[in-house]
């Protein structure tokens, strides 16, 4: 957890945003993130993010559900407490399909949502710095982290030239912390920014 300096550029139109992303990347800057009010298709690849593999996780959770259901019911009905129901076979696989299916879906869904929350660091009381309050309303907010060698003014000029409506510098916590959105960020009294 450390405070860092960010240059923030806000865009009003995704038509302007896409060329801007390409130009900023070309100029050699690294995005901290781009905050958008809705999923903008193609922005992830434009930013150079790799595809998510959360669906693979979902598949694995589903497999866990299937295996649990089948092995558990098999164990109960053939080993632990075999019951003679009208002379029908104890290993009654067709009759277990509904429960197996439900458990598969349940495990896949619950597992995926928990994984999603975990990797996106989403939970009640989690607080992240809001770079612009309208990022969840109607602005596309491009955030670029300033390194030691970054020329802040040059970067700001670049953002303005590619169409950012509003450009500013912010000092913020880059990660998340436990906090409240109705309180101002006051993690450290003196930000140790060079």
């Amino acid at each position: 957890m450390a405070l860092k300096k960010f240059v923030v550029g806000c865009f009003e139109d995704e038509k302007v945003l896409f060329p801007a992303v390409a130009k900023v990347r070309k100029a050699g800057y690294k995005f901290h993130d781009i905050y958008t009010p809705f999923p903008v298709h193609g922005l992830d690849s434009a930013m150079g993010l790799r595809e998510t593999s959360i669906h693979t996780a979902g598949f694995l959770y589903g497999l866990v559900g299937t295996t649990t259901a089948v092995t558990f019911m098999t164990w109960v009905f053939t080993k632990d407490w075999p019951v003679n129901i009208g002379g029908k076979p104890n290993f009654a696989l067709p009759a277990w399909i509904p429960i197996t299916f439900e458990l598969t879906v349940l495990c896949a869904a619950v597992g995926m949502v928990l994984t999603f929350c975990y990797i996106c660091q989403l939970a009640p009381f989690v607080k992240k710095h809001t770079f612009h309050a309208r990022a969840t309303d109607d602005l596309f907010v491009m955030v670029i982290e300033c390194g030691e060698k970054t020329n802040e003014d040059e970067l700001k000029a670049l953002l303005t030239s590619v169409g950012a409506q509003e450009v500013n510098t912010q000092i913020a916590e880059e990660g998340w912390w436990i906090g409240r959105y109705d309180q101002e960020q006051s993690l450290y009294k003196e930000p140790n920014i060079a």
């Binding site: 905050y35 809705f38 999923p39 458990l103 996106c120 989690v126 809001t130 309303d137 109705d182």
Partner: protein, 491 residues
């Protein structure tokens, strides 16, 4: 970029009015920020009153036993299971809209999916009450769960459709809730970031889990929604299939039929869409959401109603045909003596009129796009679908194989009716709270489709078509040229 996106000119816009992103947020969130209207309070208090009456009815049932109801040894399921199946069925439309229509890329779902999903969750909550309290000794309801216990351990019977129901309904509730809430996160963050009061900022901050709108998070969110939709699609079909197994795996005439799963699923979607219409038309009127829930949305849902209504009608006729064709005397008696005719004949014909005859009027475009007619129809359909379950349950049970146990006439007690009214109270109390404290329309999804299918974009497209090609090319070239000079100037 958007000019290359294909969109048919024949389709009407999904969002009316020339909206910007900011206006969309304002239109949907302002109902949360404003004080509720008088109508809201009246509706809310009536719902709470119903809920209280229901709670008292349940209290009596739990204290004095199942004898508070008029169900008996012959008609063991009565109103209780009728209501259960009815509520579960209603829930199905929400999942259909949010999941199946997402997979089919039906853009119009965005206007109604959030409220429809909420409806699903509340309907399943209502449905769950009935089998649980029907157990009689409700404090032992957890016996249905397979947990290591001191009775052996004695396990539930995994071969029983009633246990499948336990798994199906609880899974359905959980998955619907997760799907709904994960979709809500970005919209709750929108409310949080607009909040003017501290308490609202805090509460929505907690509820939105710290959502920031990061591109990576959106990417994962989209993937999550798609997979959850893919999981919910077979899930919703399985749930009502399993509910129909409760009947179909028995040997009771009128229940013992292979047509039940598809017939029940179609009926569920049919009644669910009717309930969505009822709620949406009220929501649209009370909250002024005409631009988002357009006549196009209403018409699309009415088309689903006429389709599923026809499937249900087909199933009714197939049942009658099979009863005759099978030449099983018990089946024939149930259908031709005790359903169509007999003391419960009126309920059969009420069901037929409401479910099969009346939705056929939706073949007329004028009626499909008539708000008042749709509203009346949506209630007619749900009355019909309630009677469908009543007919299936009561008219098959009251004259079974053993004439000595035939029941003359079954009518519910006030506490049985009270329990049903109580679930209405629960449903509408939840729905009123939802409409006050949550964004009733998926804001982010509307913004996503706005540029492609909004009215402003349609107008732009029409302009493109009428323009000469040369002029268009010229303009494009000019635009690029201008952009280039700006860049040079700043460097």
């Amino acid at each position: 970029m958007s000019a290359t996106k294909y969109e048919s000119q024949l389709r009407e816009p999904l969002v009316n009015g020339n909206k910007t992103y900011g206006q969309v947020t304002q239109d949907i969130v302002h109902t949360i920020e404003a004080k509720p209207t008088r109508l809201w309070y009246i509706g809310f208090y009536i719902s709470v009153a119903l809920l209280m009456f229901g709670a008292y009815s349940v209290y009596r049932e739990v204290t004095y036993g199942i004898g508070q109801w008029n169900v008996n040894r012959t008609i063991g399921w009565g109103w209780d299971i009728t209501n259960f199946v009815w509520w579960v069925g209603i829930g199905h439309a929400g999942t259909l809209i949010s999941a199946i229509l997402l997979l089919f890329r039906q853009g119009w779902r965005t206007g109604v999916n959030r409220a429809a999903e909420a409806m699903t969750i509340f309907a399943v909550m209502c449905a769950g009450q009935f089998p649980i309290f029907h157990m009689g000794r409700v404090w032992l309801a957890f016996f249905t769960l397979p947990y290591p216990n001191t009775r052996g351990p004695l396990w539930p019977n995994f071969n029983s459709p009633l246990l499948w129901d336990v798994f199906a309904i609880s899974t359905y509730f959980t998955v619907s809730l997760l799907f709904w809430y994960s979709g809500l996160l970005p919209d709750l963050a929108t409310v949080r970031d607009r909040a003017k009061t501290k308490i609202r900022k805090h509460l929505y901050g907690v509820a939105s889990f710290g959502w920031s709108g990061s591109t990576k998070h959106w990417q994962r969110h989209e993937s999550l929604s798609l997979v959850l939709a893919g999981l919910s699609t077979p899930l919703v079909l399985s749930v009502h299939t399993i509910v129909s197994f409760d009947f179909a795996t028995s040997v009771v005439p009128g229940w013992h039929t292979t047509i039940f799963p598809p017939y029940f699923v179609a009926g569920a979607i049919f009644s669910g869409f009717a309930m969505v219409q009822t709620l949406m038309l009220i929501l649209r009127k009370v909250m002024g959401l005409h631009d988002y829930i357009t006549l196009g949305h209403i018409e699309a849902m009415n088309k689903v109603i006429v389709l599923t209504g026809s499937i249900v009608g087909c199933a009714y006729l197939t049942e009658l045909f099979m009863a005759w064709y099978s030449q099983v005397p018990f089946e024939q008696d149930i259908f031709f003596k005790y359903r169509i005719a007999g003391p419960y004949g009126w309920s059969y014909w009420l069901m037929m009129t409401c479910n099969v005859v009346s939705p056929q009027l939706f073949w007329f475009t004028k009626l499909r796009r008539n708000v008042l007619f749709t509203f009346i129809m949506s209630i007619v359909v749900n009355i019909g679908m309630w009677f469908e379950r009543f007919v299936i349950i009561v008219s098959s049970l009251y004259r079974d194989y053993l004439p000595s146990s035939w029941s003359i006439y079954y009518r519910p007690t006030i506490w049985e009716v009270g329990f049903y009214l109580g679930t209405f109270g629960l449903f509408f109390t939840c729905f009123f709270l939802f409409s006050k404290y949550f964004p009733v329309i998926a804001i982010a999804e509307i913004k996503y489709v706005l540029k492609g299918t909004g009215e402003s974009f349609k107008n732009e497209m029409e302009g493109l078509e009428s323009k000469q090609l040369d002029a268009f090319v010229e303009e494009m070239h000019h635009g690029h040229h201008e952009e280039g000079t700006v860049k040079i100037a700043h460097h």
